[in-house]
Amino acid sequence: MNAGLSLEQAPPLSVPLRFFLSAPLFGLAAAGLLLWLGPDVLASRWSVGALALSHLLVLGVLAMVMCGALLQMLPVLAGVRVTRPRLVGGLCHGLLVLGTLSLAAGFLGVGQDGFRVAVVLLGLGLGGFLAVMGFGLARAPHLQDSVRGMRWALLGLALTVGLGLSLGLGHSGLGLPLLRWPLTDLHLAWGLLGWIATLVAVVAWQLVPMFQMTPPYPPRLRRWLAAGMFALLGWHSLAVLRGWPLAQLPALLLAAALAIFALITLRLLAQRRRKVGDTSLYFWRLGMAGLLLAAAIGAASRLAPPAVAASLALAATLLFLLGFALSVVNGMLYKIVPFLVWLHLQQRLATRIEVRHRIVLPNMKSILPEPRSRQQFYLHLAALAVLLAAVLLPALLRPAAVMWLADFALLGLNLLSATRRYGTECRRIDHFP
């Protein structure tokens, strides 16, 4: 037991917020690239445009929000102590921003220099993040399911980053071989399932019952899902590397595990005791529906004849990234940002003892009004539908890109207005007579 354990270890507001506010900008960059490159971009997953786009989205939006949220949440969730949060957060954010841009530039034609810079920056940024979090989690005072699950998720990120760095070095022209096959497949599998899906599952079984007042997730799922996914991913990796028979089996079992998680979450959400619906709940439901569809279509792509397999795999990947992961990230942001703004205003108010009982702080729903987030949800849903349609009808791709531009712009404006509200309320507190 850590006798000096302090229960109040939340970092300054600027630490998570810089990650959250950067994410929509990378989303705009990805959508802009989609608009510029047009239908060719989805023709092959090897096209440089597709690679640039997917990394802008996964590193610039998803990993960006996840890193910021973990720096904020792990101290509360698991008693992890992050020393010098401003420095750690600032460095990690800066390296991730610049590294992601260099990587995209490398794919888009800057060439070897872009990859070299990206390998260094992303290696330092994500490696440093992993070191800080891993060190903290290793010393976490209590070993609950969520701490165990979080360790698996971070291990998944570590493997993904390791594989990504070796691919990046291959692109750097330093004489190292570019093992496009099989490393890309493994990089993708560990990144999507070992990192993103595992992290979302761990966060869900902690937060969904709390915030929505649902029954808890089944203990067996909490105990075995992350470990089971890792065993299956290990099996899948060996099957790919060694050419084992039944190579499709672990992939199908992984899809089944994710489908079960999505179904359980949807059922728990249907059983919640709070009846007040909010945008965050809508995003979670959409996210779980997206995961379920992605798992089903992904499994079908493994069994389908080659002529349709590629389109199915593309649809499954889009559903996973934009329908599942991005929706859940959106839902989280709409809870975490207004709450953090309120919490930090509350702490600022507490320092003004003489006036604190005369000031009423705005509540979460007036910091980020429900109708504004609801609007973005519908735009998000529409953008997703049009993009999926574009898999079959490429002419729809540019209209879809315009809708994604609007989606990310609205998300960014919503988060920005909450941040500005923080500024005006701070001034009101400081200058209250």
Partner: protein, 142 residues
């Protein structure tokens, strides 16, 4: 043992909160008022059990008066202030404000409960293992 008892009490309070919130969401002021009064009473009871029975025992045994319990006491004050704002909104008939403060209060309470259930209560169970039964009786009688 202490963890189980106090965690179960958190869930009782959660249920009462949801009842008040659901009534307000349906626009039923009278039902919201009745349910909210129940919630307020249960919360006041829970916070007082911790502050006047559990925390002093833990502080005496662990010698940590300025440690985790000080943070928990501070969060209790935040919870009380938010509950007072909800009561005010309810009395002036502003159900939207009531729900807005309610959302904020729920997150405040849930993250507070999580720290207690996963860190502080287990610490208490370990530090006060030899007198858990006597403490439990005092809490139930409180």
């Amino acid at each position: 043992m202490l963890t189980d008892f106090l965690t179960a009490d958190h869930r009782v309070c959660d249920g009462l909160f949801a009842k008040a919130e659901n009534a307000a969401n349906d626009g039923d002021r009278d039902a919201a008022r009745a349910a909210y009064a129940e919630f307020e009473a249960a919360m006041a009871q829970h916070l007082s059990i911790e502050e006047s029975v559990l925390f002093p025992e833990f502080e005496a045994r662990s010698g940590m008066a300025g440690g985790p319990t000080a943070v928990m006491r501070m969060e209790h004050e935040q919870i009380r202030a938010m509950m007072a704002q909800m009561r005010q909104a309810l009395e002036s008939g502003e159900l939207d404000d009531f729900l807005g403060f309610g959302e904020t209060l729920n997150i405040l309470i849930q993250q507070h409960n999580m720290k207690e259930e996963q860190m502080l209560y287990p610490m208490c169970d370990r530090a006060l293992a030899d007198r858990a039964e006597a403490l439990l009786e005092r809490m139930q009688a409180h």
